[in-house]
Symmetry: C2
Subunit: 360 residues, 2 copies
Amino acid sequence: MSRAYNFCAGPAALPAEVLLQAQQELVDWRGKGLSVMEMSHRSDEFVSIATTAEKDFRDLLSVSDDYEVLFLQGGASAQFSMVPLNLLRGKKSSAYVNTGIWSQKAIAEAKKYCDVAVVSSAESTKFSEVPTQETWSSVSGAAYVHYTPNETIGGLEFDWVPEVDGVPLVADMSSCILSRPLDISQYGLIYAGAQKNIGPAGLTIVVVKKDLLGGALPLTPAMMDYKIAADNASMYNTPPTYAWYLSGLVFQWLKRLGGLDVIGEINRRKAEKLYNAIDNSEFYANPIKVGSRSRMNVPFTLRDDALNGVFLAEAERAGLLNLQGHRSVGGMRASIYNAMPEEGVDKLLEFMSDFERKHG
Amino acid sequence: MSRAYNFCAGPAALPAEVLLQAQQELVDWRGKGLSVMEMSHRSDEFVSIATTAEKDFRDLLSVSDDYEVLFLQGGASAQFSMVPLNLLRGKKSSAYVNTGIWSQKAIAEAKKYCDVAVVSSAESTKFSEVPTQETWSSVSGAAYVHYTPNETIGGLEFDWVPEVDGVPLVADMSSCILSRPLDISQYGLIYAGAQKNIGPAGLTIVVVKKDLLGGALPLTPAMMDYKIAADNASMYNTPPTYAWYLSGLVFQWLKRLGGLDVIGEINRRKAEKLYNAIDNSEFYANPIKVGSRSRMNVPFTLRDDALNGVFLAEAERAGLLNLQGHRSVGGMRASIYNAMPEEGVDKLLEFMSDFERKHG
């Protein structure tokens, strides 16, 4: 088979030209006689790869020197512990917003370390709508406010940034980072597992305001202390070097493309096409209210669930992979991250339309 | 440059045929239209890759069903915290053996969670000799006994397994795992960062006896709880899929080679050649006592430290990379893990001999 369109929620598709470059360089990186995988993380070559990747990431998001950019391991799930372990700084409580499954996982883990006030929840709308800020409880006194700007499973996305009265704002951006411009100065900390919009699984990027560092709980494992990571330029121990390198290639690809304004516009267009097609059909449906819909993860159902298996099998034969919804919600889900080209969405729309004609 | 001989201590050289296979499969894995990096960790394809890798690893080390094999993140440094967090099980103290820098890092981290008794130390011999078991203090009452069978930096290796009176024995095997046969039943837990004898950095393998699981301290982060990892087949969250896949290719390579008896014999021969050359020279020296010498990491000094720079530069020109010793000890170090072919050691010996003739 030639290269398929892969709608997986994560690990997700990577840009084809990044994979081709990685393939070309895999055995012998630029005539050095070894693979990037085989380089000492302290070698000039790898340090140059690592610092270039950080610089490109900072350029893309306009991250100022007030922030550390950390290249860590453990995924968002490790951050669910690291955020309270590091950011409580003597306080006893934190504030969380519940917009779906990933928010709930973050909340459950934070409860090990502090009182958690759920200041807003989308539960009453069955997670079909981001609760407007006016409905939130007060966040004052909290060590930080945590929210999930994009819920990968539910397909719910904030199109606004919460106002939190000077309390540090923390965001799990695993499935929306680099998908459009953001103003980092509104955040105390953002984090993202790499395997959606950054690179391969096994790398996690954290951007944290420097003045929040240094107050980790005494029992914090060294590998979970942001300050130790920052003081060691993310090389307290051997980092996931190959994932770091590949992420750097992705950042360069994004810069060549024109940066976050350009990819943001492409992403807006891709999502709009797909939601329009769903809304204009009697056969497909999306449960999320307009204004709260994810640009990255588009869940949808068929009129008849009994057709799900046929839909997935025919899609796969058409080179459209991994459209099944998350096992906890069922139905379908098209994840259309940065690396999904617009042609991939067009192909999907064509397929959906054909399928509806045949089975509708 | 064609492929060089890379003596890096880690991330270390990988077998050339593994890299070539990875290169060939990188963009399109076996006609599926996507890279392994882009596969859902829950897809049939990746689950098959993952379970095959685990099975091959178990075969190589003859790991029985009494043990879990976990594929984790965070390197040995994360294990320095995870071992006490998980294995104290109500006890207040643990026993550690200090044979060098990595032992000391493990000890420092364990002190956050329990009383640490250093039951044996090589400090009095300046870490030039593994202390014989008769000189150890009693380990009775300890939750576990931790030691470092091979010290990557100092080049000190146990050629025997401690007897610990039924206390669970824990070993940091980062730089010696898979280098020769071992009897897993002598251990409660072994762990190893992948980037020496397993695969690329970013993966850590833990083998732990099932009856030791389930007693983690209440504040243990979910990502650091072995039981959670075991209950979820190392997929509580997205694992480092590409590193897992590559490790699987390394295990298959080792099996094709004939397994640990065969590689153990090759490693014995490689190390013997190198130590013999050093011992038979007035120009080179190794500080470690015979019987305590590492088969994996061979540190050596030149008669005149002022020649170090010339040695490294000429070696690099000869295609012999990364021979500098660790920054904390200086001198040279040749790491000769499984993937270093015997020809690489022969080339190094030839170079050392030429260098001695020219500069000795």
